[in-house]
């Protein structure tokens, strides 16, 4: 590893001036975002700083239970955050999101850590925590886009679903087109990111590694693994999610629940 420029605390404080520009532009144009910019700036500063110390401590401690605890906290927060952003909640939605998040992320992460990277020890926090965080945060966005699309499509295509039920379709077949649209909407940002990778976008992780002195081609390999994990985690999560969620769309008489259409 070659040397990298160490950023002093003073440099970070000076850089905060850039956020001042955002606030001023918001104020001049009356965008109504100044409060959010200030809160966002303070929150990101505080959260990341705390996380920096916690990660440093966990890396030093090297205990499996700290890694596992971090994973649980990340999954719980990610599920809660995506749940908060969903306006379509057909029942047991939090549980559905949590299950999708757990299974969808665990499979590709386990595959990558233990079959491809073969990390030792199995809980090595230096790999497990940052890589899991990247994958989980992408799944979180995919889940909220997917479920919101599910809801809006159901409201828009309600008569199509009912026409299919009238023709004898099962609940699952009646929702097939909506399920497809929702999954597609949730996956599109990830697929689009694959398309522009390396041309208009050098991802944060890769940039970070390069700044840290890693050879670009090595950081590219890591980034590719990350993208593959992100894509498969999103696909598995959404696949599971739409099937779990559709059970709550109907009542015991196979009718769309009226309150979901409001």
């Amino acid at each position: 590893m070659s040397d990298y420029i160490v950023i002093s605390n003073t440099s970070v404080l000076i850089s905060l001036g850039l956020m001042l520009i955002v606030a001023i532009i918001g104020l001049i144009n009356k965008l109504g975002i100044t409060r959010s910019v200030i809160i966002g700036t303070i929150r990101s500063f505080a959260q990341l700083t705390i996380m920096g110390y916690i990660l440093g401590w966990i890396f030093d401690m090297q205990r499996w239970y700290f890694t596992v605890l971090m994973l649980i906290i990340m999954i719980a927060f990610a599920t809660y955050d995506s749940y908060k952003r969903i306006d379509f909640r057909p029942g047991k939605t939090f549980f559905c999101c949590l299950s999708a998040m757990l299974v969808g992320n665990a499979l590709p992460l386990a595959f990558m850590f233990y079959m491809v990277l073969q990390i030792t020890p199995w809980y090595d926090p230096q790999y497990v925590i940052p890589i899991s965080a990247m994958v989980i945060s992408n799944t979180m966005t995919a889940i909220s886009i997917c479920l919101n699309t599910f809801g809006s499509e159901l409201r828009l295509r309600r008569y199509e679903v009912e026409a299919k039920l009238s023709l004898g379709a099962s609940k699952s077949l009646a929702l097939e087109a909506i399920r497809k649209s929702a999954m597609k909407a949730g996956l599109i940002p990830t697929i689009n990111a694959l398309m522009v990778l390396g041309i208009v976008k050098l991802p944060g992780m890769m940039t970070g590694q390069i700044l840290g002195g890693v050879a670009p081609i090595e950081s590219v390999k890591y980034q590719l693994l990350i993208m593959y994990m992100i894509s498969s985690a999103a696909a598995i999560s959404l696949f599971l999610l739409v099937y779990l969620v559709e059970r709550g769309v109907f009542n015991h008489r196979d009718q769309i629940r009226y309150e979901l259409l409001k």
């Binding site: 026409a163 004898g168 009226y258």
Partner: protein
């Protein structure tokens, strides 16, 4: 199939749409339920089609109450056509085959030729998608799609309200033929008295969630009921 509703009550949240509602639709007849918007006509059809549950009361399908039947059994007996045509993804052929495929049947070539001829739709339309067809054509395909499953009754919710008079007439002719050629019980919901008079054996005038008048087209036409007169004069939308 005879369909009878007894003491039916339906509501959306706190808004009661039908209350203590009784009606009986005789078998093999064309019935039109007519009334202003918000009078509960569409809700009535949705209840009969098992797309919604009544809050109270019963619906009898040839004397079998809805509570004794699984919604799928009801939907096998009753086809439903919506105001806006609901053609699905795929071609006209895929659409016509939709319900048959679920029942592990296939549309026979002779059958296709026959049904399309009956509704004045050219055979080459089979490969077209829904959006290549006019609204009237789409609605006729929806009716045929339902008819192919051989239900005992067909319900139609304002099936011609989006059509110009010429296209509406072709669809109305097809609706009338559901009884004359296919022996189906037809229940159509409409707010247009002229349409109802053209094709119905029996007309039911619904007002504020209840049947105010019922009878043959002639009886309804000659009725001096004040609310009906005002409705026909276009005073209620």
């Amino acid at each position: 199939m005879k369909i009878r509703c007894e003491k039916l009550e339906a509501a959306y949240g706190k808004n009661t749409v039908l209350s203590d509602f009784d009606v009986s639709f005789p078998a093999d007849s064309v019935n039109t339920v007519i009334g202003p918007s918000g009078s509960g006509k569409s809700t009535l059809l949705r209840l009969i089609a098992a797309l919604e549950n009544p809050r109270d009361g019963s619906i009898y399908y040839d004397d079998r109450p809805h509570t004794e039947l699984h919604p799928r059994e009801i939907r096998d007996k009753v086809g439903m056509i919506f105001q806006k045509p609901t053609l699905f993804e795929g071609t006209v052929y895929d659409n016509l085959n939709f319900g048959l495929k679920i029942r592990k049947k296939m549309l026979e070539p002779e059958e296709i030729t026959k049904v399309l001829k009956n509704v004045d739709i050219p055979l080459e339309y089979l490969d077209k998608t829904g959006d290549e067809l006019s609204i009237g054509e789409q609605q006729r395909i929806c009716i045929i799609r339902s008819l192919l499953l051989d239900p005992e009754a067909i319900l139609l919710d304002e099936p011609v309200s989006a059509l110009d008079p010429q296209r509406a007439n072709r669809v109305l002719k097809l609706i009338r033929s559901l009884k004359t050629d296919y022996k189906k019980t037809v229940i159509m919901v409409s707010h247009n008295m002229n349409d109802a008079l053209k094709i119905s054996d029996r007309i039911f005038f619904i007002w504020q969630g209840n049947i105010l008048l019922e009878g043959s087209p002639e009886t309804i036409k000659e009725s001096d009921n004040e609310v009906l007169r005002k409705f026909m004069a276009g005073e209620y939308e």
